[in-house]
Symmetry: C2
Subunit: 352 residues, 2 copies
């Protein structure tokens, strides 16, 4: 518990690296600065960003003296850092080399890469390797993001009000226009339905978010997975829809997003289902998050309306930074971390 | 995390005492039995219950061999127990002797007594004394109930998705007809408005629940209270309303419940407001729980609809039992305990 005096944080600051300066990375950079993190490096791949001051690229309103660099190795070697906030791409396979690089430089990692939220079921070899490297170098890697509170911790918490659970059913929506072109590509915008299903069949495309979120929930509650069912379907409208991110009109009959559904059957009885729709919105639509738990009592309900998902994704990652720095070294998923908390003080105040 | 095999709980059971066999106590007794707790004692004051088998009094559907006794000292002395689930009355002053008695017999206490949810601001001397006695005897006392998840932990968790918080506003309702005559008396059913306000002024009646819930929230988030404002007003309708618990009609113009409002201003900036209405419902009304956090992002919203408050009050207390047994000795409020979790296995499985 805080005392009544302002804590002395002048003597200690958190040194941070913004690793990825896309739509999410830019917001996160500002939040980190406002929570007292000293940004000591910035990594990006796009030629439009490289060589410019992070303050300019991230619209901070001031010069930081940190020049965006496309050579992550150089950034990491230049000076020590406590944390790298990493947001580049999805899937642990793709991101492995980036995470490994940070960890080998003894820099903790917090990331919104979705598989890292709970990688032990879908990418166990990669996760084990990163866990080993992290422990060897005395640092921690954790996946956070919107999953952390809204799709996992708030659900496992509400489950604690039940005596017997038969089913947990979640339904959430997010606007695929909010996250830049990388995410827009993930939801196959503008594709035909035929091509979408052929791609899905060819690639054996793993679940983008749903599977790993359910796996984290199962672990957090102490349940045991017996069976997993996953499906993915396109969202197709019978009217044209404007996509801001790609600056293009998506014709009626083409893909404007995806619905992913996952079900986990557990040894202990509860069946957990999560349906996530990521799509371009029509006028007036907002992000929602809705959960229903059935059993005894008959129903427990939770609804979050007008969720500002892009912002809360970033705020949760930034609020997690002290937990990641404080954690035992290794690949630490959020079920192993303390309750995520609001941080009124500079983040260094919460580092023990 | 649980393994895939059913855990061996046959070798170890939790021994429990049902201390108070009122409306809440009877439900709780059943939930404890269904979660593998061996009931070794039952305490009640009412002559209609004393001398009868707990199974009969609590509608368990079978005889337990445990006879409800009005002599708590005798029940506690008869044989050792791990936990007493205590639900008798409100306010720590009233309940002190009951808690003390359990602790001195080395029995952990979990209670729905509302002040015990966070007693350090409203009853610090009593809490300190119980903390000392608990430590001396190597046991723990904790207050839980509906506050635990719905009015405190789910709020502090949602606050973790914010970057800056200006205000937290909660509004909750519960049906005063659901908890038996003791709670019905607390909300002054049938009183006149004049008498209500005179009583409130005379007794300097402290907040029934709101104040202690806000104090717990402030502690859990690591904020610092600077100022507290409390108010209580009667709910008065212009039509007659039937009260089931008291088996009587409450005339139009008389008190059918209370609205309590509390505001805590904190050193760190966030202002927390909680409005709780406990009243007899009109046809079709249901319990709700609603929270709004403003700041950056502009709004975070949470809504629980059709909350089965009487049941979830009991379920949370029962699910807390392993945390209380596992805790360091002392008066441990829930901000100091692990995340409350669903318990698919017998409770003994979660005792370390």
């Amino acid at each position: 518990m805080s005392g009544t005096a302002l804590p002395d944080t002048a003597s200690r600051r958190i040194m941070g690296i913004v690793y990825g300066v896309g739509t999410m990375g830019r917001v996160r950079a500002r939040l980190m600065v406002e929570k007292g993190v000293e940004i000591v490096g910035a990594v990006a791949q796009s030629p439009q960003k490289v060589g410019r001051d992070l303050g300019e690229v991230a619209d901070l309103g001031f010069e930081t003296g940190v020049i965006v660099d496309d050579d992550a190795e150089r950034v990491l070697a230049k000076q020590p850092a406590d944390i790298a906030a990493v947001a580049l791409a999805s899937y642990l396979d793709t991101m492995f080399e980036h995470f490994e690089r940070c960890l080998r430089h003894r820099v903790n990692v917090v990331t919104i890469e979705e598989e890292s939220f709970y990688p032990w079921m879908t990418a166990p070899a990669r996760a084990t390797e990163l866990d080993r490297i992290a422990k060897e170098h005395g640092v921690t890697i954790t996946g956070s993001g919107q999953q952390d509170i809204y799709w996992m911790n708030i659900v496992s918490l509400l489950m604690g009000a039940a005596h017997r659970i038969d089913c947990v059913r979640g339904r959430t929506t997010w606007n695929a226009d909010d996250y830049g072109p990388a995410v827009a590509a993930e939801v196959h915008l503008g594709d035909t339905s035929e091509h979408f299903y052929r791609l899905v069949a060819d690639k054996e495309r793993p679940s983008f978010v749903v599977r790993n979120t359910l796996d984290a929930l199962v672990a957090d509650v102490g349940l045991t997975t017996e069976n997993v069912l996953l499906s993915i379907d396109p969202v197709i409208l019978d009217e044209d829809l404007w996509c801001k991110t790609l600056d293009t009109m998506i014709p009626a009959g083409r893909v404007v997003g995806v619905v992913e559904r996952g079900t986990v059957e557990t040894h202990e009885g509860p069946k957990l289902t999560f349906e996530m729709t990521g799509r371009i919105y029509s006028e007036g639509e907002v992000d929602t998050n809705e959960w229903l738990i059935t059993g005894e009592p008959a129903e427990l309900r939770l609804f979050n309306d007008c969720v500002p998902t892009p912002f809360t994704t970033c705020a949760q990652v930034v609020n997690r930074i002290p937990d990641v720095i404080n954690a035992e070294p290794g690949f630490r998923t959020v079920d192993q971390l303390p309750k995520l908390r609001y941080r009124p003080y500079p983040l260094a105040h919460y580092v023990v």
